[in-house]
């Protein structure tokens, strides 16, 4: 690799690479993000490699007319339908691709220009086959400022990133702009932290810039401890240079000389790709001494997170990099004054950093047009649960929950009713039907009793018990509490006990009041954000689903049929055909009845495993 010593050299390289890309007539992008890999994307990629080689089409082997380049790219977001393959230039989008499909794809689509119907996405409403990614309902309402590049580049190649305009924002920032100008631009853009709290990024930078120190740090928080959330992983895996570019710009703006990327250790591919990206950037001179001849020097190191949820909290994270126990401490003194090793430090989330090059390239004004008054830009959500299309969705702030769940997510599977959506990760709140038209932004979600958090979004259908949901999340948080401060350590444990009591049918109305009182104190008196937000699942479900709490406590009923202590399995005599299947399958022999006769469940013996209901073809087993 040849070092890039000046803006001109970078521009020249860009022109050359972009030109080459334009000449690339055909290319195949196979998603090799973690989710698609788990569905066999590597085998699909290998099959393409082999097939192209066999036909002498591989551009690596032979350049020229008809040759095809193959890219393993980052996550495209539609993970529920992986492995995903896009065939350019026509941008034909194939989903659920298996290695066996590959020879046919090369033969028919790549060479022959024909479509293979069965691999196209079928619109569940119209039944029509959709050709292009952007026409699929899942993508239509998205605004993929950050995610789009994931599908275009090989994250292991810095040249791919440069070819799509990468590092131009950095060049502009460090060569043409003063630190204050950059900070003003970020303030004007309205960018707020994507890691949870939504703190204005520009203000944070301004504060760090203000504090004089020969050593300052910038840190990228890629600890992503929310179970089920993986937007940071996808960005770091799929487009690590965009994060790095953001960090370089931020470091220059505040006067930092050293950066850290703190990556969750369960993210091997993200770790690999960011480490490689740093090495490549260093080799090209985009990191290190005197970047592009600007006089600005900066380098980045990688640290691995231990995997605890609280390890992603800012003060715990810095303690961990310093080699101390990852435990939060008071933050009356901001990290921007005294952070990592007591030096002024800017800590931002992966997604926050990835927004920075876009803001510098397109300008604050352009950026601030996207979103609501106080929440600008886009946000990536990880849409999961009882929803037809799961995956990563990037939407403009201000889109409604309804649009995300029903238009992008395709609604609730199996014709079931929507019951609630939990936003913001394990300590987010649950919002009901009546709140579906809320615009998704930091302040609206907060006011409704939930939060943006880092962007988890779990959809729940009618078969969900909201008390059980609250219990489930409080259990997670109780286990993840570090135990340092009293309200979080002791309070959450008692919350969990009370919720368990209620789901066991042993709760009282005083218990519900006590939950609210505990919730207030844990939220206000805890030391860190874990405790401060932990009562959300409880308080929001009491707020929106109080009926269900009352039913559990007073009527000893669980309407969703989830809480075992409160349900009974019975056989409806009219529906029972005497097929005898439940009799045979019941693991404890609780069902009696002769073949062709009516069957009965012995309530004393029944362990409520639900097998009889699952195996009954005649809808004769009911949960009451």
């Amino acid at each position: 690799m040849k070092r890039i010593e000046s803006r001109e050299a970078l521009l020249e390289l860009y022109r050359e690479l972009a030109g080459e890309r334009e000449k690339e007539e055909k290319y195949i992008a196979v998603c090799t993000g973690t989710a698609c890999l788990a569905n066999g994307a590597q085998e699909v990629y290998d099959a393409f490699k082999e097939e192209l080689a066999k036909r002498g089409l591989d551009i690596q082997v032979k350049k020229g007319e008809g040759s095809v380049s193959l890219r393993g790219t980052g996550c495209h977001g539609f993970c529920g339908r992986g492995p995903l393959v896009a065939i350019h230039p026509r941008k034909i989008f194939y989903q659920l691709v298996r290695p066996e499909d590959v020879p046919e794809i090369v033969e028919k689509t790549v060479v022959g220009g024909e479509l293979i119907d069965r691999l196209l996405y079928e619109d569940p409403v119209t039944g029509e086959r959709v050709l292009h990614e952007e026409d699929i309902p899942f993508y239509k309402k998205q605004m993929r400022l950050l995610m789009a590049a994931n599908g275009q580049i090989d994250p292991k190649s810095i040249y791919d990133y440069i070819a799509i305009g990468g590092y131009q924002a950095m060049a502009k920032a460090i060569l043409d702009m003063e630190g204050d100008e950059i900070i003003q631009e970020v303030i004007d853009s309205g960018l707020r932290g994507r890691g949870g709290a939504g703190f204005p990024t520009g203000w944070k930078w301004e504060d760090a810039k203000k504090h004089q120190s020969p050593v300052k740090y910038v840190i990228c928080n890629a600890d992503e401890g929310d179970p089920g959330a993986y937007m940071d992983r996808s960005l770091l895996e799929g487009n690590p240079h965009s994060v790095l570019e953001g960090m370089i710009i931020g470091a220059y703006a505040v006067g930092a000389t050293e950066g850290w990327v703190y990556v969750r250790k369960e993210y091997p591919l993200a770790l690999e790709n960011i480490t490689l990206a740093i090495e490549q950037a260093r080799e090209l001179g985009l990191l290190g001494e005197n970047i592009l001849g600007s006089g600005f020097s900066f380098d980045v190191k990688v640290a691995r997170g231990g995997g605890a949820f609280v390890g992603g909290e800012s003060s715990a994270l810095m303690a961990s990099i310093e080699g101390r126990v990852a435990e939060p401490r008071s933050k009356h003194i901001h990290a921007t004054e005294s952070g990592l090793w007591g030096r002024p430090t800017v800590l931002n989330n992966v997604e926050t950093w990835a927004n920075v090059p876009i803001i510098i390239n397109k300008g604050a004004q352009w950026y601030a047009k996207i979103g609501t008054e106080k929440s600008k830009g886009t946000k990536i959500f990880s849409l999961v649960g009882d929803v037809n299309h799961t995956g990563l969705v990037e939407v403009p702030m201000g889109i409604t929950l309804r649009e995300v769940i029903f238009d992008i997510g395709g609604g609730i599977p199996g014709g079931k009713e929507f019951k609630g959506v939990q936003t913001g990760g394990p300590s987010g709140g649950c919002l009901p039907q009546s709140q579906l038209d809320l615009p998704v932004d930091f302040d609206t979600l907060d006011a409704a009793g939930s939060m943006m958090g880092s962007g988890g979004m779990i959809v729940m259908d009618e078969n969900t018990c909201m008390v059980d949901v609250a219990r489930y999340f409080v259990k997670f948080l109780t286990e993840e509490s570090c135990g340092k401060c009293v309200p979080c350590r002791e309070g959450l444990k008692h919350m969990l006990d009370i919720l368990t009591r209620i789901t066991d049918g042993e709760g009282t109305m005083e218990d519900v009041e006590l939950l609210e009182e505990l919730g207030y104190v844990i939220a206000h008196a805890s030391l860190c954000g874990l405790g401060k937000s932990a009562p959300n699942p409880v308080l929001s479900t009491i707020k929106y689903y109080k009926d269900e709490y009352i039913e559990h406590v007073r009527d000893k009923k669980c309407r969703a049929g989830v809480c075992k202590a409160l349900v009974k399995y019975i056989i409806i005599a009219e529906n029972c055909t005497g097929c005898h299947v439940c009799f045979k399958r019941c693991p404890v022999g609780a069902i009696s009845g002769e073949p062709k006769g009516i069957h009965v469940i012995d309530q004393e013996m029944c362990i409520k495993c639900g097998i009889c209901k699952d195996v009954c073809k005649f809808d004769a087993v009911k949960v009451v």
């Binding site: 993840e480 207030y520 104190v521 008196a525």
Partner: protein, 236 residues
């Protein structure tokens, strides 16, 4: 000098002092279990929380690690403060039902019931012993084990710590007095840390006054000859 008001009272504090220190010097009571002036604030018990107004902004903060500032208005008796304090104490009393120090505090704060099932612990996890050992003595004989509700203070692997010199600082600093030190048959014993060490007698008066481990520690630290160290404070 920094001027502020605490509960309506004008208070003059020194630069760099915490709100808790300033309040105490002014005779205003703020409960605090994890604070000790000899070690760094830890802000874990959350009993010392107060409402602080600076300019337009009111914040709910721990007074043990919040620094005084000119013109600051502090309230230690708001409904929010009381509600949180009482609940925190109630939670600690459920964890440790048999500590007289907590019961005394309950009288003062008006906590007259405990609505949670009683545990059988005696450690409130204020961390003062751990921090005193590390920050004052300079050793790491104690630490935490497990997280969340299962967190405990213990010696490494629950074995007698090799670092521990039985100086007793942890015992001295424990606000609920559950780290007893016993001297018997020429030994100093700390049951809680599974540790015992032979006592050394003063070469002048003959009284036992330190442990062999302490002597060794002092020798290493000061480089002084054994004869000089083996004289007790009274005879020196």
């Amino acid at each position: 000098m920094v001027k502020l008001t605490i509960d309506g009272k004008e208070v003059v504090a020194r630069e760099g002092q915490t709100v808790l220190e300033a309040a105490r010097e002014a005779g205003i009571f703020i409960p605090a279990l994890c604070y000790h002036h000899e070690v760094k604030p830890y802000a874990a018990c959350r009993l010392c929380m107060v409402e602080v107004t600076r300019g337009k902004r009111t914040r709910f903060v721990t007074s043990c690690d919040y620094k005084v500032a000119e013109g600051m208005v502090v309230r230690t008796d708001t409904e929010k403060v009381q509600k949180c304090r009482r609940m925190v104490l109630e939670l600690l009393m459920a964890r440790c039902p048999n500590l007289p120090q907590l019961q005394e505090l309950a009288q003062i704060l008006g906590v007259d019931r405990v609505r949670f099932p009683e545990g059988d612990d005696d450690c409130i996890l204020c961390g003062l012993c751990v921090r005193t050992c590390a920050e004052v003595v300079g050793l790491h004989a104690l630490g935490y084990e497990s997280r969340g509700f299962h967190r405990r203070v213990t010696t490494p692997f629950d074995e007698p710590s090799e670092e521990c010199i039985l100086c007793g600082a942890c015992s001295y600093v424990c606000p609920v007095e559950v780290v007893p030190v016993v001297e018997e048959d020429g030994y100093r014993v700390m049951e809680r840390w599974h540790k015992k060490s032979r006592l050394v007698a003063c070469t002048k008066c003959g009284k036992f006054f330190m442990t062999e481990d302490e002597l060794k520690f002092l020798q290493e630290k000061t480089g002084l000859p054994e004869e000089r160290l083996k004289v007790c404070a009274d005879c020196r």
